[in-house]
């Protein structure tokens, strides 16, 4: 009994390690091919098509997400700040939260749902209908042809989409704070300008680069390795979203720690300059 439990545990561990290794190799190859695609004009058309699908068509949903994040923050924080007489500082709280954390993370989660699901479903269907194998049979590397343009498009455009989310978050927060809740317009912007640094905005945009890479790589991997049939594709889509979501949160935490350390290191230098 104990032996069978230990055996099953061991087999599962070996399988998981194998899968992790396979995923790491696939993602590494995908990223390498995406980098090479930058210098291969023949592949620009494929990348351009994906940029349109992934980037341009995501703009409305990302803007709506950003706007609601800003408006909700204003509604939630106003009462507490007003209780202490600090409502004019609402802009700092909203704008720092939006550009540094909530804008990038929620925009990335929205992208994981919109793009990640679509990428996995598309590639998964191509796999079960032997289209990926057909690409190989015609002497083309499916990672170069299918994965690289999608990863590259996500890497390049997610930071821009996050800028859109930030912009609408700021506008949404302003609308609720100043227009709806009556915070002083001039004070709102003055405090915002003094509290939000270029560094904060840059952090959000840099995060977008990593989030985009994670979403595209994970979704393509799940699509390429999905099981047969409609259930297999559906299961792969769910797994892709969950894995992307967790990766976004984990990357956000890791980058939070790293950027804080970098900021603390550079802060004295800035004072000197």
């Amino acid at each position: 009994m104990n032996e069978s439990v230990v055996g099953a545990f061991g087999a599962k561990t070996v399988e998981d390690v194998n899968n992790a290794g396979r995923a790491a190799r696939f993602i590494g190859r995908g990223l390498a091919c995406a980098f090479r695609a930058l210098f291969r004009p023949k592949d620009y058309e494929l990348t351009w098509t994906q940029m349109n699908i992934i980037g341009v068509r995501s703009v409305p949903v990302i803007m709506v997400t950003g706007a609601f994040v800003g408006m909700t923050l204003a509604i939630q924080a106003y009462d507490q700040l007003a209780f202490m007489g600090l409502e004019e500082r609402l802009g700092v709280l909203i704008n720092v939260s939006v550009v540094k954390e909530l804008g990038p993370v929620l925009a990335a989660v929205m992208l994981a749902g919109r793009i990640g699901g679509a990428l996995t479903a598309e590639l998964g269907t191509m796999k079960v209908t032997e289209q990926i194998e057909a690409i190989r049979s015609m002497g083309t590397d499916p990672v170069r042809h299918l994965v690289a343009p999608r990863v590259l498009a996500c890497l390049l455009l997610t930071p821009f989409l996050i800028i859109y989310a930030d912009l609408l978050g700021i506008i949404g927060g302003y609308f609720m704070s100043v227009v709806q809740l009556g915070v002083n317009n001039s004070a709102y912007w003055t405090y915002s300008a003094s509290g939000v640094e270029l560094w904060d905005v840059s952090i959000g945009v840099i995060k977008g680069f990593f989030f985009g890479g994670a979403i595209a790589s994970i979704s393509c991997y799940k699509g390429f390795h999905c099981r047969e049939g409609a259930e297999g594709v559906g299961h792969a889509c769910t797994e892709a979203f969950v894995a992307s979501f967790i990766s976004i949160l984990a990357l956000n935490f890791a980058m939070g720690v790293i950027f804080k350390a970098v900021y603390n290191t550079l802060w004295p230098l800035r004072m000197l300059l």
Binding site: E130, Q131, E133, A134, T140
Partner: protein, 290 residues
């Protein structure tokens, strides 16, 4: 004459074959998926400019075998040669060049949904050639579609094509690069008898017109008899019969006769007769009430 033919083809599936005995040669080819042995020590040479048909019951390893011929699958043991060059251990980069010499017709066609017929046919051309003149491409697509009787369908998307039309477009794509070898995976499966015969006629027409080597995997015996120069039968991962049509029709092996005549075995019948014998064959709504 028949004896000679039989002897020739049998020597193309024995352990004494060399890499130069055929355009594609498999030596000691073995494939396992986990503990499941699918191909068991196969020796097999394919003659150039002829049509070799691989038959066998569903699940016997036909598709796995044909995918090894183009190294879409790597063998667990053994070797695969293309024109005398070993390819089973080649890198994907080298295989890219080698695969340009092959055309592969997949069972479901495997046309790219997002591309129209023209773009599907031009896919392999764009991958292997630097194209600057669009007019030449249009000419090529027209020629390939005319070969499969579908000129005029250039702007159709796969979703608008019937099953038979999809296979014909996939065939046009498979021959787009004028390959030396065309592999067909169950080309007539899922088609009505008339459409299936259209595909058979196309295979014959392309074979005689282009002179390439064809390898066809099928369990459709009517199709096999019509197009084959040589028939190889797989059973439980091994080759149990190899010869021309007459040789296979008169083969003494009972499994070969059972398969080509489409007869269920006595063992299977016995299982079917016994299965569910002691159970009720009908139920009533009352059976589901407390």
């Amino acid at each position: 004459m028949m004896e000679k033919n039989q002897k020739n083809t049998q020597s193309l599936s024995g352990p004494d074959i060399t890499p130069d005995d055929g355009i594609i040669v498999c030596k000691n080819l073995t494939k396992k998926f986990g503990a499941n042995l699918v191909l068991d020590n196969i020796y097999f040479a394919i003659e150039p400019h002829k049509t070799t048909v691989v038959i066998g019951p569903s699940g016997c390893g036909k598709t796995v075998l044909i995918k090894h011929l183009i190294v879409l699958l790597r063998p667990s043991a053994g070797e695969v040669y293309f024109k005398g060059q070993r390819i089973d251990n080649a890198t994907e980069r080298n295989l890219s060049r080698i695969r340009a010499g092959y055309g592969f017709l997949f069972q479901g066609g495997a046309l790219f949904d997002s591309l129209n017929v023209t773009e599907n046919i031009l896919f392999p051309v764009r991958q292997h050639y630097r194209v600057t003149a669009r007019s030449g491409l249009d000419e090529l697509v027209k020629m390939k579609l005319a070969m499969v009787g579908l000129d005029g369908f250039q702007h159709y998307y796969p979703a608008r094509l019937s099953g038979g039309q999809k296979k014909r477009v996939a065939l046009a794509r498979a021959i787009a690069l004028n390959p030396e070898v065309v592999l067909y995976d169950e080309p007539t499966t899922g088609l009505d008898p008339i459409r299936a015969d259209v595909i058979n006629e196309l295979i014959l027409k392309l074979q005689s017109g282009l002179g390439h080597t064809s390898v066809v995997v099928t369990h459709d015996m009517k199709s096999a008899y019509k197009i084959a120069d040589r028939i190889v039968m797989l059973h439980r991962g091994k080759i149990i019969a190899d010869g021309n049509v007459d040789h296979i029709k008169n083969h003494p092996h009972p499994i070969v006769q059972q398969f080509i005549n489409g007869q269920v075995s006595e063992d299977d019948l016995a299982v079917l007769r016994m299965s569910g014998k002691d159970l009720k064959s009908q139920f009533l709504p009352e059976d589901f009430q407390e």
